[in-house]
Symmetry: C2
Subunit: 329 residues, 2 copies
């Protein structure tokens, strides 16, 4: 499980199910095994049998904890002594901050200055040093490289890293263990770490399952990539889905997504808001916009899944009451 840092010694250098199983063993007793929610009213409305993986009930409020913890746990103690570094619009920041604290190591996090206030505060609350930048103007990569070098810290990337991908995949492993005979699994996609990890895990246990990525319409780079066969880069998309404002899918996730994901389906922000309302009023759970993206995608593309058994990730719930109320007003 050190392949994320020494991929050259393996052939092919691609995420395997053994990596996901190793991550699951590391996360046992540390991450929550989140529940699968069902609603007969929702099933009737959408015309399919829906299994909702409530990953918003995960520690720190999103699936990102799995990948962040797995990656830090895979480091040597000498590496952990150097401290870790991450850049993220929010949930990966909190994940690395919390996972670092659980391992007793320092964390420095580079976050966009317009990240939700709650995410900035929570990341600081876990004891990390937070540095902000302007996501529409500053060169994040250059800033990140400089900061990381200055501190001598180990970079924990948000998605383009095998240990992160393997950790995220444990979410789908729980789904396919808990729900037999699924036709499809819909997972939100930004940089692709969650979707690729979930694809490897789900198809290892249920080979016939079809994987779908859910992406905001305003930033459909992964859809363009899958349909064109090569990674497409876009400008920072303007969408309420702040967890999915990536400009391109990661190279390691792409190795999986390219060949094994059936399609990327897009959804507009208004439907994401409708999914947040539905989750609140019918399911009694709180979803942030990106956390509702997969459910919104199922709502928008329901005809494609008619009569099927469909699992959907409710991937995060980190939003404060004020922002939630203003989005749903």
């Amino acid at each position: 499980m050190t392949r994320g840092r020494s991929g050259a010694s393996y052939n092919p250098p691609m995420l395997t199910f053994a990596d996901v199983e190793a991550a699951a063993a590391r996360l046992r007793g540390v991450a929550h095994r989140t529940p699968i929610l069902q609603s007969r009213m929702l099933d009737a409305e959408l015309g399919c049998e829906v299994f909702l993986k409530a990953e918003n009930l995960q520690r720190m409020g999103a699936f990102k904890f799995r990948g962040g913890y797995n990656a830090i746990n895979a480091l040597t103690s000498a590496e952990r002594d150097r401290g870790v570094f991450a850049f993220s619009s929010g949930n990966h920041a909190q994940a690395v901050a919390l996972a670092a604290r659980l391992h007793g190591c320092r964390a420095t996090i580079l976050m966009p200055s317009d990240a939700p206030a709650m995410k900035l505060a929570a990341t600081r609350g876990y004891g990390a040093e937070v540095i902000t930048y302007d996501r529409y103007r500053d060169d994040r990569s250059a800033l990140a490289a400089r900061l990381c070098a200055e501190r001598g810290a180990v970079l924990i990337p948000p998605y383009d890293h095998y240990d992160v991908m393997a950790g995220q995949g444990t979410c789908a492993l729980e789904i396919v263990e808990d729900v037999p005979s699924l036709d499809a699994l819909i997972v939100c996609v930004g940089g692709g770490g969650f979707l690729s990890g979930c694809t490897v895990a789900a198809q290892a246990v249920q080979p016939g399952i079809k994987l779908y990525g859910a992406e905001p319409e305003a930033g459909n780079d992964v859809q363009q990539s899958l349909r064109s066969g090569h990674i497409v880069h876009i400008d920072v998309p303007k969408t309420i889905c702040d967890g999915q404002q990536t400009q391109a899918v990661g190279e390691r996730p792409w190795e999986i997504i390219r060949d094994r994901v059936t399609d990327i389906l897009c959804v507009d922000d208004a439907t994401v808001v409708a999914a947040m309302r539905l989750a609140f009023e019918r399911l009694k759970v709180v979803l942030e916009p990106s956390g509702a993206c997969a459910l919104a995608t199922l709502m928008a593309h329901r005809e494609r899944f008619r009569g099927q058994r469909v699992a959907v990730t409710l991937s995060g719930g980190n939003i404060d009451v004020a922002r939630f109320a203003s989005l749903l007003a």
Copy 2:
């Protein structure tokens, strides 16, 4: 399990653990086994280990489904053919409406005209006939008696009924099965059906567990009753906790509460709102005011539970976004 309708044949006529076990058998595969949530941040803040039973994730959004379903399931088919009747400020209404539909029988529900719009709509949505009244002016008992007689329907009372109490008790049965060695269980109390059922179930499995009722300060009739040793009646209390606007505890619940509940603790509406916010932002779940009452009570009385293992019911989540936002504004 027909004792709710023929108590005279039993001695003593009191809820037993066997009743709760029979209810659990009836509800298996019908009610959700709701998850226990934990938050290390909450534990640190409250100074105790907290186990939150997310009964807001129950079918129709509250524990009331358990009692309503159990009571209707216990009827003879001849009784069910007559249809059922209930009066309720909301969640019992929805519970009876849904349980009736699952049994293929008619339901008529008498509800206060100022019940939350979402609860009125949901009850109608389950196919029940809803009749409204003014809870500060009309004589609900007289109205109920007349309507029930006119229709020849079987009354399913909201709390003062052994089958209802037994059904509600299955919630605590799951708690004590899932969480060993609890010191205390805090349950919201209105008419006492939930608290009495939970007391019988919890103490049968964990004899040392202390039971506490959580009641809004503005309507502390059960606290007065427990402290004075007899049932105290009050005017309809004005509180945001619309599920707890009862004027007196029921006689059958009182048989249990009187002798076996350690104390009734009260909380003000402002703390209930704070608990709703905490549940939203930290736990990522939606609670209606009465659903947050037990958690709010733990927050207000935390010094009493310091260092203990405490289970708390999150008993319902039926609130729409607009009312939630206005209460938390």
